[in-house]
Structures are given as C-alpha cells and as structure tokens.
C-alpha cells in the first residue's frame, strides 16, 4: 500500500463499502441509468480515447482483445475478445497473428470477419478520423503515405489470409502488442462505412448493445443488439436490457439525485461524488450505498528542468521536500477522495513499487530539509515560481495549497490560470509552458508501466508541441533504462524494473507526485455487478458487468 496515507488499506481492484453487496450478480433486464456531467467525446472509437468513453465503447464495440472484466482474478490483464486467444508472435515479435471467433456479427446481422477488423483498424490512419489512440500508427507497419481506407484504400501491411485470421506486421518488436489490439480504435466496422462524420451520431455496433437514440449533450439510450451472441463473449454479461446515459448534469445535481434515490434513480450509477457530499453520507443507508474504488491516475506537479533555478537538482528536491501533500490531499477532497502519492506509478498499476524519497511526518513537508537544500543551491532567499493550472476549482485549490506550502521556504508561487479547453495544449507546448504545472497521468493499459514512465520522462520524446515530458527531463541514464525495459518480453520482469526506475527518476525530482484520486461512488440501491476495471474504466466501474438487482423496479 501507499506510504502512509491515513485512508489507505485498499488494494488494487475493487473494494466495496458497507453491507450492500454491489458485487452480487445482477438479474436479467431493466435499464441502467448513468448520470454524468459531460457528453462523451466521440461515439466513433477511432476518434474518442479517454477514460469515460472507453468504458462506454465496451458496451457497443468489441476488439480482438480487451481488458479483463473487473471481476476477473487479474483485472489488469488483457484477455481475448473477438479473437480466440491472445496473439501469436513470430519473426522475433514483429509479426502477430490472431484468429477470430465464429458467429460474430454486427448489429445489422452482417458477419464480422478479419476483413472488417482490418478495415476498422485501418481507419486509425485517416488524418481526420484517426485522432484517438496513437498506438496502431506507432506500432503497426504501414506505407509512409498511407492515409486511411477512405483516401488510400486497403492497408497492405495487415494481412487477412482467411476470414478468421488476421496478421499484423510491426515496425519493431512490441512485447505488449496484445494491449495495442485491445485499444478502442481497433474496433471492426463493415467495409466502406464510417467515412467522414458518419459515426458521430450513428454507429454500427458489434457489442451487446446498439444505439437506440442519441441527443448530443443530453441523452444516449442503448438497447440490446440482437445479433450479439453471448456465447462468443467471455467478457460481457450484458444483463440489463438497455442503458440510459443522461448527460450535462451538474456534479451537485447528480449527488443530490443519488442521495435522494427517487424513481429511476435507484437504477443509477455515476462518477465519483463531490467532496462536499462525503459528510452527508453518514446515515446508515447512505453509508451502505457507498462504494470505493482505487484510482490509477497520478496527479503530480511537473518541474520544468530547463528553467532557472529549477535546473538545479537541489532546488527541485527542496520543492519536493517542501510541498505539503496533506494539504493538497485535503484540497482534493480529503483522505477518501485521494491517497497521497510518493511514487509516479499508482499502486493499482502493474509495476508499482513502494518508496518515498522525500519523507516527512504526516506528509506535511519537511521544511528544514528543503531550506537546507535551497541554501546549498544558493537560493536561500527564495524565488518566484509560475505554476500553470487549469481553471478548475479543484485544481485551483490544489495549487493554492502548494502556493501556501512553498511560501514556507520563500518560494513565491504565482498561479497562472489557463482555460480548461486550452490547458493541455498550452502546457504541452514548450514555448508556452512555465516553471511548473499541475497535471495527471493515467496508463493506457494497466497491465504495465510501459505507458506510464516513458511518455513522462523519456528524453527523445520531448516535442515542441504536444509534449508530455513536461519536466523536459533528458537524463541519459533514464533514457537508456527506458529503452532497455521497453524491449523486454518478460512482462513480469519488466514491471519489476519499471518500479526501480520510478525511484531512480524521482531522485532526480522532475515531478512532485501529489496524490492518486480515489473514487467514491453512491450507486442506486438496485444496482449490482459493480467492479472496478483499471484497464477499461481507468479504475472506475466496469460497465460490462453492471446490471439491476430487481429489473422491475422503476
């Protein structure tokens, strides 16, 4: 577990609170209500790629492999979905072959064969559509000028020797390729479909549900896909007859509705509750309905190693010592909604190693140690530091907490509030980012740290635009280690090495891990089958197992 956060004691996977057994197996039928703040980014899986929509995609789309269901023994694992098994490597890991199950169909009844899988995957190369997960383009070999099936036609590098077989050729060996074909943009589609914006409001489903209605920004309704054969699917139970996603709701509204639990809201689930709702969950009934799940995303403050005086290791270390993580945790919502992080890799991600290189009592920061380091660095009089933050109340509070704690060592933190919509673009542009920024990172698949440490710390990855190595750390030793672990085929061994690398990196203090946000849910009393899925739902409730205890309740 974590380095001493008072609330910890949660292990990876799911924990449930109170006496209600949310893990009970749901009955068949009924409609699950999902209350959420924002609409999904895109219904087209070649475009959308984020925690919220990925989870939704699993209800309507299938891929060759996918994350294991939340109730699996190892929920971080990648398991076969359309394919009969995981991929078979050859050619030194450069060629991967998958075999499709029999009897797979789209919602219109047309069969799903290797050709449809290949067509769907090749959409990732379309410059306008393929804006989702980047892995296909990064890993799978393709002609340099290939621009997707609508512009360049067939992708020659993916072979479909027969309707049941599909063969991929990679640019170079990629041991975790099974996770790549589980990415949401590997969804099969009938040949020729999905051009332009045609999947923005209508889709072709391959999963257990299809789209019944969609009012952008307010409601999505799903109904059963009669052409989905449960016998072909080991991941999804698909007990409910349908789903209704109500969007555009306020956080407070959602919480109020969930607490009141009136009408159809007994069948409702939603995202994590607000901090202010926590004190109201003291009644036994509400306590029973509370469900906690561990997060897999680390919130951290990056320190731009190219800016003075942050280029001095001692200054960065001093800051790492001085930050009052407990105050930041409180600003995030207290112990129930966040656990203090001392490592880059969260406990739930495979490869996590427990350590704390900048310890302090109660995580309140070690001001003495910090001051000493600053004095050594000749910065005892302090210095100003511009901290980029998003115009989001929670992040502002976190930033204010950091501001206060760094004031103790004479660092004058100025908050630079950037509009939410522009935030990641701004801090990802080297010329626009300032001294520090608060941001977070989630793994693209939870089965390894391969999608965690390299994007954040790999020197050659530093880009002028769209940069994710915000610290601009370019340490040869770290770079070399990353390359070496990335090539290992023994995933277990690799994960152990990632953990060690994490510690090695944090000693360089390119970032200050702040916390890992935890989810606290208040599902409706009639909902069952709630399990966390680190892979498919970024640690949240895995939709594919959810259903109703009593489908007749309304």
């Amino acid at each position: 577990a974590c380095g001493g956060g008072p609330s910890s004691g949660q292990t990876s996977g799911q924990t449930s609170g109170g006496g209600t057994s949310f893990s009970a197996t749901p009955a068949k039928g009924g409609v699950v209500e999902v209350l959420q703040k924002a609409d999904f980014s895109y219904l087209d899986p070649a475009r959308g790629w984020d925690g919220g929509v990925n989870n939704f995609y699993r209800l309507v789309y299938r891929t060759l492999t996918t994350s294991a269901p939340g109730n699996a023994k190892d929920p971080n694992a990648i398991v076969p979905d359309l394919a009969t098994g995981l991929g078979k490597q050859s050619d030194g890991g450069k060629t991967w072959t998958y075999t499709l199950k029999q009897g797979l169909k789209f919602d219109d009844g047309t069969p799903i064969t290797s050709a449809e899988v290949k067509f769907g995957i090749s959409r990732a190369w379309d410059p306008e559509i393929g804006i989702g997960s980047p892995y296909a383009k990064q890993v799978i070999a393709a002609p340099a000028d290939y621009r997707g099936p609508y512009r360049s036609g067939d992708l020659p590098t993916i072979e479909t020797p027969d309707p049941q077989t599909i063969v991929f050729h990679l640019k170079k060996p990629f041991p975790e390729f099974d996770a790549v074909v589980g990415q949401v943009n590997m969804t099969p589609f009938p040949k020729g479909s999905g051009a332009g914006d045609s999947f923005l409001k209508k889709i072709i489903a391959s999963g257990p549900y299809k789209l019944a209605s969609y009012t952008p920004g307010s409601v999505i309704q799903l109904e059963r896909n009669p052409n989905w054969d449960p016998k072909t699917d080991d991941v999804r139970t698909a007990e409910p007859d349908g789903w209704r996603f109500t969007m555009g709701l306020d956080g407070a509204t959602i919480d109020e509705r969930l607490m009141a639990g009136q009408g159809a809201d007994v069948n409702a689930i939603s995202g994590t509750i607000q901090a202010s709702t926590l004190p109201r969950l003291q009644s036994p009934q509400l306590k029973d309905r509370t469900l906690r799940m561990s997060g897999i995303c680390t919130t951290y403050m990056s320190l731009n190693t190219t800016k003075k005086p942050l280029d001095d290791l001692r200054v960065r270390q001093a800051i790492s010592f001085a930050v009052d993580k407990a105050a930041v945790q409180n600003a995030t919502g207290g112990t129930q909604l966040a656990t203090i992080a001392t490592t880059t890799l969260p406990t739930t991600v495979a490869g996590h190693k427990d350590f704390d290189v900048y310890p302090s009592p109660g995580h309140k920061g070690d001001v003495e140690a910090a001051k000493k380091l600053l004095t050594e660095a000749g910065q005892s009089q302090g210095f100003p530091l511009v901290l980029d933050i998003r115009s989001d109340p929670k992040m502002q509070k976190q930033a204010e907490a950091i501001q206060q704690s760094l004031k103790r060592i004479g660092v004058d933190v100025q908050l630079n509030v950037i509009d939410s919509a522009k935030y990641y673009e701004t801090i990802g542009t080297r010329s626009q980012q300032h001294d520090a920024a608060i941001t977070g990172w989630c793994p693209d698949w939870a089965s390894s740290a391969a999608t965690f440490l390299p994007p954040l710390f790999y020197g050659p990855n530093i880009l002028d635009k769209g940069n994710s190595n915000l610290a601009q750390l370019n340490a040869p030793a770290v770079n070399q280690q990353i390359e070496q672990i990335g090539a290992m085929t023994d995933l277990a061994a690799a994960n152990k090495q990632w953990g060690d690398l994490d510690e090695q990196i944090l000693k360089l203090a390119p970032i200050v891990p702040l916390n890992v946000e935890q989810a606290v849910y208040l599902p409706g009393s009639n909902v069952a089958g709630l399990f966390a899925s680190p892979g498919a739902a970024t640690g949240g409730i895995d939709y594919v197992l959810v259903g109703l205890r009593d489908p007749s309740k309304k």
Binding site: P6, Q274, A275, S276, R280, A327, N330, G334, Q396, I418
Partner: protein
C-alpha cells in the same frame, strides 16, 4: 440576462417607453441644498442603516490588513487543523467551524479563515464596483449630455451605439470575453467590460433629461448671453443633472457589485486565491447543505451591501423627487 434587472435599467426602460413624457412645467421641482437633503435622509432609519453598513464595509476594505492582523489569520493561510480530512475537508465543529480562533468559521478543504476572506473580499467588491461606477458615470454622462444637447445626427449616432450595446446579451458576452482574455489584471478588465456594457443605461436617462433641459429657456438665455456649447452643457445643463446623477450612481453601484459577484460566481471574475464575495459564494455552492454558514456569510454580506446601496439610492431619489429637500 439573468442578473437581476437593476433599478437603473427599469427606470431607463420606463422612461424610454414613456418617450420622456415627464417634462415638467413651471414652477420647477426645486432641488435645493445638499445639506437639506442630507438632513431629511438622516431622519430616515432605512437610509441611516444603509449608510452605516456601507460605511462599515468601506472601512473594512480600507483597513483589511489591520483587521486581519487583529483576527489572527491571513486570507490565504491554510489551517489543516480546522478541517476533517476524512470527510472531504469539512470544517471541524458546528456552524462551519466558528470559534474564537476563526470568527466566521473556515473554508472546507483548506481551512482558510472566512472572516479574513470576507474582509479582503470587501476590497475587491468595493474597488471594482466603485471603479466601474466612476467609469460608467464619466462615459454615460458625457455621451448622454452630448446626445441630448446636440440632438440630430450626434444623437442618432450615440443612440444607435447605445441600442447596439443594450441589444447585446451582456452577461454572456462579458463571460465569453473574460474567459478568453488572459487572467492577468482581471480586476481592470472587469471594470472595463462592466463599464462598456453599463454606460448606456445611465446615458439614456441623462440624454432624456438633457433633452428636456435643452428645451428649457434658460439654455437659450445662456446662448443669448454668449455662452459656448461647452459652457451650456457643463455650466448650465450639468448642474441640473446633479441629483439625477447622484441617484443613478447610487443605484448603479449595487448593480455593479452584483455583476462583479456574478461574474466571479461564474468563474470569470478575480483570480484565486484573491478572495471575492461572489467567488466565495460560488465555491460554497457544493457545500451549502453541509456547511450553511460557508454560503450564508458571504451571501448575507453581499445581499446587505447591494440592499444598502439600493435603499440609499431609493431614499435619495425620494428625497430629491418629492422636493422634500426644499
């Protein structure tokens, strides 16, 4: 928009609707010395209370650093010991953590002292409202006078600009512009934006009055005496607008306080951690059912301030209108 229509707007609208039909004939509704007006205001409990509260807030704003030194907490200081980390950072103790330590309790999640934030928030509210009022008054009076006195094409042009600005969904536009502009120097931006959309309401009333004053014979008399256009506007007409302007200004201050608070409430006001009452109310939205004081205190301070200005403006107008000042 949804910001409560200010007195100013309603008056303006009604005036427009009536086509400025409130032209008085002799003997004139005399408005005598300010001292008399003050005297009759002093007999009015509502006006006295309002002025007292406004005075209090002004003092609070002026001496914020001193007051905060007395109360012991700066508005930015975190007090982790005052909140419960296990319950989302809810203040410890009843009434939002009100204690001898924290007179108005603390902010959930951070433990910052609400009293100190209220005191500093008064600064923001007052500065912005007063600055915006000053700017709108200058703009509104000048344009209104010009349009009303000059008439003709100048009037047409100024009136069209006013129509245009008043046709604008000001709130949406203000938010959009503010959110798109960089966060630095927010207060100045707020003042400018509020004023740009605020002056037509004053100008319209000034214009109407200037128009009817310009038709009065004393203007012609001044002209026959050799007064220049500027002299007529500023020496003959402007003094007659004094009471109108005083009333309108008093009535527009609460509007601007409300607008600033509203914009801060919507997250485009002053930049945190600088406290503003509107922003405090905004952050209390999620907490109001758990920690009612967190919401009630800034809400009450804001409401009372707006109310005080409204009452004062209203009484002032009554005194001036009914010629009680005579």
């Amino acid at each position: 928009m949804t910001i409560t229509p200010t007195e100013l707007e309603l008056t303006g609208a009604a005036e427009a609707a009536l086509g400025g039909a409130t032209d008085t004939v002799a003997p004139p509704p005399e408005v005598a010395s300010g001292a008399r007006a003050l005297r009759s205001l002093r007999r009015d409990a509502g006006a006295v209370l309002s002025a007292g509260y406004i005075g209090l807030v002004v003092l609070m704003a002026l001496f914020a650093p001193l007051i905060v030194r007395l109360s012991g907490w700066s508005p930015y200081e975190f007090d982790q010991s005052a909140i419960d980390p296990n319950l989302g950072g809810v203040p410890l103790g009843p009434w939002g953590g009100i204690s001898s330590e924290h007179w108005f309790g603390v902010e959930p999640g951070s433990g910052r002292d609400i009293f100190a934030r209220i005191v500093y928030g008064a600064r923001v509210s007052m500065t912005i409202a007063v600055a915006a009022t000053a700017l709108t008054t200058v703009l509104g009076v000048t344009c209104g006078l010009l349009a009303g006195y000059l008439g003709g094409k100048s009037d047409q042009v100024i009136s069209r600009v006013m129509d245009f600005l008043m046709a604008f969904p000001a709130l949406i536009f203000m938010i959009a512009v503010l959110s798109a502009l960089p966060a630095s120097n927010r207060s100045a931006l707020l003042v400018v934006i509020i004023s740009v959309f605020g002056w037509p309401y004053l100008a319209r009333i000034v214009r109407g009055q200037a128009m009817s004053l310009a038709r009065r014979e004393f203007v012609e008399a001044a002209q026959a005496s050799g007064a220049s256009g500027a002299s007529i506007v500023f020496r003959e007409i402007l003094p007659n607008l004094r009471s109108t302007i005083i009333v309108m200004v008093t009535l527009s201050v609460p509007g601007y306080i409300g607008t600033e608070a509203g914009l801060s409430f919507l997250g485009v006001g002053v930049v945190p951690p600088e406290p503003s009452w509107g922003q405090m109310i905004a952050s209390s939205v999620t907490w109001y059912s758990v920690v009612p004081t967190y919401f009630a205190i800034p809400g009450l301070f804001l409401f009372l301030l707006v109310l005080s200005f409204t009452v004062l403006g209203d009484r002032l107008r009554a005194v001036i209108d009914t010629g009680e000042a005579r």
